[in-house]
């Protein structure tokens, strides 16, 4: 039996930050990871691999386009997924080394096994070799993450029909692929595979992919996806998906239509991974969405047990999970975690990138009765033209009184660029801050200035900006 001050279940973004914060607070900490490497699904199957794959696909495609343009070589479409995944593997290894070193540096004990509550203060860890060790702790943080949602009408076999955890095991690029879902994971993979030359059909029951985003961003994504050759089938109710036993995956819709492709990816969301934790032994239950309820500090119904990350539900972003983990550790340490504010950015690593912070135009209109919009298209920005990334949009949303309430970006560097807008929102800066101050030139950040000028014009005219028409 081992005893620690804090026992953290799961070494993904939430668990890792909770463990390190608690260790920095002077507590003895153990972190339990069921997989071989630390980092959880974020590192093994999710955030890191998919983003790495995207980066490789984008840079290779760009390099090949340049070669073809210079006439030195034909555009080679035969990019091997195995090659791309191989490079991803190196990134994962490096990430694992870095994170393990960080945990060790902070004196966190890392155990690789499956945790299971025995009582509110005791956890049993089963190692891969079958051995079992008991840990007791004053505080426990549940950060066991999520796994792909499995649906009874989709027979995921990881050979023809993949989920988001297995899709990167694809050995070669299929000619065609159906992607089920219209959320972040579905759109990221759909656009990456479309960029790699696969005929992708994105199938969802909603009329637009990424419907939670500002409508301009969702439209821009869809147009870009279709330019890559992708097809979106919205309002499509898929009733059955199966491998036909020949060479195709067949999806049957509610009205009897059969859609087919070489491979399929089921990306219809993820569900929390708590079933094996025996949380009932700790006096906990899951809610009707199979999530663990927590208060603002991450504390569960049992005072000394905290939860963070995907097990507590949306936004299910790695960035948000890290902060939830840190705040949970601050709470158990009894220290003030500081003000988080309401402006949580989100980034979607599709092709093109999308990023958002604050209210969408529709939300602003609903809240304030109206909204003032300022837009900058990358085609108006020198950096966009130089970098051959002229397809992009930065959109500022202001309340009728001119106060900035939202920033939305689609295009190159969107996920980095959004933080400028986030800082402006956090500090309540007026849109004029982007006009009256100097940005490096040429940069994508210049988009803020152009959009702010557009917004200023719209305010003067009492309505929409010039580019919004």
């Amino acid at each position: 039996m081992s005893r620690v001050d804090v026992f953290v279940i799961g070494s993904g973004p939430a668990g890792q930050k909770a463990a390190i914060q608690a260790a920095k607070g002077g507590l003895s900490v153990a972190i339990c990871e069921r997989l071989r490497e630390v980092g959880g699904a974020c590192v093994q199957f999710g955030t890191i691999p998919s983003k790495t794959l995207r980066e490789r696909a984008v840079s290779r495609t760009r390099a090949m386009r340049e070669l073809a343009r210079s006439g030195r070589e034909e555009l080679d479409q035969s990019i091997s997924v195995a090659d791309l995944i191989g490079e991803t593997g190196a990134v994962l290894k490096a990430h694992d080394r870095y994170m393990t070193a960080q945990l060790e540096r902070n004196g966190v004990l890392v155990v690789h096994g499956r945790a299971r509550f025995l009582d509110p203060h005791a956890v049993e860890v089963q190692f891969a070799n079958g051995q079992i060790e008991r840990f007791e702790a004053d505080h426990i943080v549940i950060a066991s993450g999520s796994k792909p949602r499995r649906l009874p009408h989709i027979e995921t076999d990881h050979e023809h029909i993949y989920d988001s955890d297995s899709v990167l095991s694809l050995g070669y690029l299929p000619r065609s692929m159906m992607v089920f879902g219209g959320g972040v994971i579905a759109c990221e993979y759909a656009s990456i595979f479309a960029l790699l030359g696969v005929e992708v059909t994105l199938i969802d029951r909603y009329p637009m992919p990424l419907g939670f985003l500002d409508a301009d961003l969702a439209s821009h994504f869809l147009e870009a996806f279709e330019r890559l050759g992708g097809v979106f089938r919205g309002e499509c109710d898929v009733r059955n998906v199966t491998f036909d036993g020949v060479s195709a995956v067949i999806a049957t819709t509610a009205d009897g239509e059969e859609l087919c492709a070489d491979k399929a990816l089921c990306a219809l969301g993820r569900v929390s991974q708590v079933a094996d934790l025996n949380i009932e032994a700790a006096g906990l239950t899951v809610n009707d969405r199979e999530l663990i309820d927590v208060d603002d500090s991450g504390r569960t119904a049992v005072a000394h047990i905290y939860a963070a990350g995907d097990v507590v539900g949306p936004p299910s972003l790695a960035s948000a999970s890290m902060e939830q983990g840190r705040r949970a550790a601050c709470a158990l340490l009894g220290i003030d975690p500081g003000d988080q504010g309401d402006f949580l950015p989100s980034g979607i690593y599709s092709v093109p990138e999308l990023a958002s912070v604050g209210l969408t135009e529709a939300q602003a209109r609903e809240r304030f009765g109206d909204a003032v919009i300022g837009k900058a298209h990358y085609r108006e920005i020198a950096r966009g033209l130089i970098a051959d990334s002229a397809s992009g949009l930065l959109k500022l949303i202001a309340a009728p009184d001119g106060k900035l309430v939202g920033v939305h970006i689609v295009g190159a560097a969107a996920t980095d660029l959004i933080h400028i807008g986030q800082m402006a929102l956090i500090h309540g800066a007026p849109h004029t801050v982007f006009i009256e101050n100097v940005f490096n030139f040429p940069t994508y950040a210049e988009s803020y200035r152009v959009a702010a000028l557009d917004l200023a014009a719209a305010l003067r005219e009492g309505g929409q900006g010039r580019t919004a028409a």
């Binding site: 997989l35 071989r36 199957f45 035969s78 195995a82 191989g86 593997g89 190196a90 690789h112 499956r114 089963q126 891969a128 070799n129 079958g130 076999d157 990881h158 050979e159 023809h160 955890d165 297995s166 095991s169 694809l170 050995g171 070669y172 690029l173 299929p174 000619r175 491998f243 036909d244 036993g245 020949v246 060479s247």
Partner: protein
């Protein structure tokens, strides 16, 4: 004097032939090469596969024979390749066709027929198990099967070479035990030579050539561990139902981080693997 000694010692001649690239290698039937090429092509389709297999009547009839065995056959008899592909899927038929073709290339009559047959049984069983391990670990299923099937191909290749060396009657072929020992010793270089000659995927050569701990295998470590576990499971099932404790301690299990219940899930497939193995050997 030294040259004469080498000429009279078949094991030295085999080592020399492997080293200088003059090893007598079996010829891959052209249809098998085409089937393999189709499997690595984006343009492969069911009709193309059926057409290819039909170009070799012996292969076609063997495929039909196997798909009508209990492990593969459904309620109705399968009478055509297109029907077989429709029933079992293009990937499975491709695997069956490739297995038959490679087996026919390697299992020629000769003094080591029994050894080759045994190596072939191990290869098939390993391929089938490796496929299931890969599925359980969310690794590439097709690569695992191919590497499993060919993991020990160097053994029959070396025995084939040894047979060729002794064919002129000038030297006596070694008896089974030293011949097998020599072939196992030559497994890697002979296997790699064949893979290169047959233009099999480079991944297979990398897999065969690897020696040492998993963490020295870079990006291929998981594939190697997957096939290694396939080898262990294939070996364990020779002695009757697999005892979980026998394989749970395997280094590959630890590397792949498979928990006891993961292994129980795998072992539950033993009957299915046994049935497929029996029918592939039918």
């Amino acid at each position: 004097m030294a040259e004469s000694a080498t000429a009279m010692d078949p094991s030295l001649r085999l080592r020399e032939a492997v080293a200088d690239g003059s090893l007598n290698l079996p010829v891959l039937p052209s249809v098998a090469a085409d089937v393999l090429a189709l499997s690595q092509s984006e343009d492969g389709d069911a009709a193309g596969l059926a057409g290819l297999i039909q170009t070799d009547p012996a292969l076609a009839s063997n495929v039909l024979r196997i798909v009508n065995t209990p492990a593969f056959r459904g309620a109705a008899e399968i009478v055509a390749l297109q029907q077989a592909i429709a029933r079992l899927g293009m990937g499975r038929i491709r695997e069956i066709a490739l297995s038959i073709a490679v087996k026919s290339a390697l299992t020629q009559p000769g003094p080591y027929g029994a050894l080759v047959q045994e190596a072939w049984q191990d290869a098939l069983a390993t391929g089938l198990w490796a496929r299931e391990v890969a599925r359980a670990c969310r690794k590439n299923v097709e690569n695992a099967y191919l590497c499993g099937l060919l993991h020990n191909i160097g053994v029959p290749v070396a025995l084939h070479g040894l047979t060729a060396i002794c064919e002129d009657g000038a030297v006596e072929p070694p008896s089974a035990e030293p011949a097998l020992s020599l072939a196992v010793d030559m497994l890697r270089p002979a296997g790699v030579a064949l893979v290169e000659r047959w233009k099999l995927p480079a991944l297979v050569a990398t897999f065969i050539a690897h020696e040492g701990p998993y963490d020295s295998a870079g990006e291929h470590a998981d594939l190697i561990a997957t096939v290694d576990l396939g080898i262990s499971l294939a070996g364990a099932m020779k002695h009757g139902p697999i005892e979980p404790d026998r394989v749970q301690e395997d280094a590959a299990v630890a590397w792949l981080h498979l928990y006891p219940d993961d292994m129980q899930g795998l072992l539950a497939l033993e009957t299915s693997v046994t049935d497929q193995l029996r029918d592939l050997n039918a």
